[in-house]
């Protein structure tokens, strides 16, 4: 299972970074969402195995740590709020600038 998780995290991460670097603003917003998923999966994997001295390691039976799952829950909520806000911003930008090309959304340079 380790290798599957590792490959999945790596693939999602690479995809996310690649999409973020695209010029299309909507594609790069998707990149952010993919990146958030990659990181959530990474956080999950930190709790799936016994850590060095995790809070619950005193229990006799090896069990997955609940804390990373709580962290992921928080991170999901935050990234959902962030994504919604990015999409709202993109809506205004595409309306105001009439483009989805990142290079054309730069009228601030003076």
């Amino acid at each position: 299972m380790d290798i599957v998780t590792a490959v999945a995290v790596g693939t999602l991460f690479a995809l996310g970074i690649f999409q973020i670097l695209r010029r299309n603003v909507i594609r790069s917003a998707m990149g952010l969402m993919i990146l958030a998923s990659a990181i959530n999966l990474f956080l999950l994997s930190t709790g799936a195995y016994q850590g060095v001295a995790a809070a619950y390691s005193a229990y006799p039976a090896p069990r997955s740590d609940a804390l990373p799952q709580a962290l992921i829950l928080t991170a999901i909520v935050i990234s959902m709020g962030g994504t919604a806000f990015v999409l709202a911003l993109l809506y205004v930008i595409s309306d105001r600038y009439q483009t989805s090309d990142q290079d054309e959304v730069s009228q601030l340079r003076q």
């Binding site: 990146l35 930190t46 850590g51 809070a55 962030g82 911003l89 601030l108 003076q110």
Partner: protein, 498 residues
């Protein structure tokens, strides 16, 4: 009083948070909302003043285990001198920002959510300084970013949305980095409590993911603080934000990264601090040069001040990078002084921009506009002197301390850079003063009454006061630096001397 004292480290976070919720309910009555926001911020400011004096008198950090979950398991709030000092500084500047917003003519300050978002900004900043838990720091930093971005996106500037987009994008990336660092640290050490983590990292620095976590955290705080190679979003963002907000962003919000660096070098990664300090010295010096030169080359007074923040944060990072007690004290004094000066200068720039017919902070539009307004001119002049570090202002005190610590560690090259940076500061601030208040206008200017000047006047009063009567702040900074030099103070206060 007893119950308030027990919850003291919580108050600077809880008061603005509750105030923000109530401010939303007061939407129908604008004046009441303004009054409420000011009262809330004033109470929060009083509580953080109480916090700082209690911590200082007690001589040990105050902690608060939220929900009764004892550290290292629950989330703990830790008010050591560093946190209490930064909270007081930021709430002071945030209070002045609210005062400015109350007297501003922008449309945005009459948006129903403006004051709530402003109070949430205060919550995020105070929480990030006070929390003793790495993940909680992430949450508060995220609150800070989101409220700051919305405040910019709804601003009057038509490019506000573009600036907000750029900033939010890079901030989301920073949060991603921070989460990765948190995951790496958690899997290596099984804790997220900063004191516990510091003790465990000190006991076993050989975890393979530790260098990755350090690098990711460094990148995160560099983005938060707009340190040199990560600064590209900052001038846009700080120029397009509404004046009251950009004065906060460019003064206290960028200090979150400085706080992060201080915690990294003096608490979390003491054994690896040398490498981190070397990076900070390098990037800080680069920031001083790049920021100073870019500020000289701008055509917009707000943008100039935003680039100047890049340079001034560079000075602070040099202090953190030298890392001696004197240099840390210098960095802390510099942090406080720069916040006051930069907030006042940005408010004055925005106030002048609001006094011309079509609101603009470009030099071409502002040339000669100040000739009818001598009072903001005098205030700007005082602020410019303070930014460049000329007595009798507090900027002189911070530069002097930085120079002395530089001489003590014999960093001659960087000292020469600091001197050059100070000269550049003088050049660009005086050029701005000359363009706006000295030069003849090109044609007849249509001027109007603009934003009120109470807030920057108060801040500049403090700037002069702290320049003439500097010893309390310097003493406080030196004592703080002493605490920072012994991480056991922080760790012992949280874990009970384990």
């Amino acid at each position: 009083m007893e119950i308030l004292f027990e919850h003291l480290p919580l108050l600077p976070i809880l008061i603005p948070l509750a105030g923000a919720a109530v401010a939303l309910l007061l939407r129908p009555n604008g004046r009441l909302q303004v009054g409420w926001a000011l009262a809330t911020m004033g109470t929060a400011l009083a509580s953080s003043g109480w916090l700082l004096t209690s911590v200082w008198q007690r001589g040990a950090p105050l902690t608060f285990a939220s929900g009764g979950w004892l550290p290292p398991f629950g989330i703990v709030l830790v008010a050591d001198l560093l946190a209490a000092m930064l909270v007081l500084m930021s709430q002071l500047v945030l209070f002045s920002g609210l005062l400015y917003a109350a007297g501003a003519g922008d449309r945005v300050v009459r948006t129903p959510g403006f004051y709530s978002l402003f109070l949430l900004l205060a919550t995020g900043l105070s929480g990030a300084f006070l929390t003793g838990d790495l993940f909680n720091l992430f949450v508060f930093a995220e609150l800070l970013v989101i409220s700051g971005t919305i405040l910019t996106a709804i601003g009057d500037d038509r490019y506000g949305v573009e600036a907000a987009y750029k900033y939010f994008y890079i901030s989301l990336l920073a949060s991603a980095f921070m989460l990765l660092a948190i995951g790496s640290l958690y899997v290596s050490y099984g804790t997220l409590n900063m004191a516990d983590l510091a003790a465990r990292v000190g006991a076993d620095p050989s975890a393979p993911l530790l260098p990755a976590a350090i690098g990711l955290l460094l990148a995160t705080f560099m983005i938060k603080s707009a340190v040199f190679p990560f600064h590209f979003w900052q001038p846009d963002f700080h120029t397009a934000a509404p004046t009251a907000v950009s004065a906060m962003l460019s003064s206290v919000v960028v200090k979150l990264g400085v706080y992060g660096f201080l915690r990294m070098t003096t608490l979390l990664f003491v054994q690896q601090a040398e490498l981190i300090q070397w990076v900070l010295l390098l990037l800080g010096s680069a920031g001083v040069l790049v920021g100073g030169l870019s500020a000289v080359g701008t055509h917009n007074v707000k943008r100039m001040l935003a680039y100047s923040t890049l340079a001034q944060v560079g000075f602070i990072l040099i202090g953190v990078g030298w890392g001696t007690p004197l240099a840390l004290a210098a960095a802390l004094v510099f942090t406080v002084n720069h916040s006051l000066i930069k907030a006042a200068l940005l408010m004055l720039a925005g106030a002048m921009a609001s006094r011309i017919q079509e609101k603009s902070a470009a030099f071409s539009a502002l040339t000669g506009a100040g000739r009818s307004f001598p009072l903001p001119g005098a205030l700007f002049f005082a602020g410019a002197l303070a930014l460049a570090g000329i007595p009798p202002t507090n900027g002189f005190v911070s530069k002097l301390l930085l120079f002395r610590s530089g001489i003590a560690v014999q960093g001659w090259v960087i000292l020469a850079l600091i001197a050059a940076g100070g000269l550049l500061t003088l050049i660009y601030t005086m050029r701005a003063f000359q363009r706006i208040w000295w030069q003849e206008p090109a044609g007849p200017l249509a001027l109007k009454a603009g934003d009120r000047l109470l807030a920057p006047a108060l801040l500049l009063g403090l700037v002069l006061l702290l320049g003439l009567w500097a010893s309390p702040l310097v003493q406080l900074a030196q004592e703080t630096a002493g605490w920072l030099q012994t991480p056991a103070v922080y760790i012992g206060a949280v874990l009970g001397g384990q």
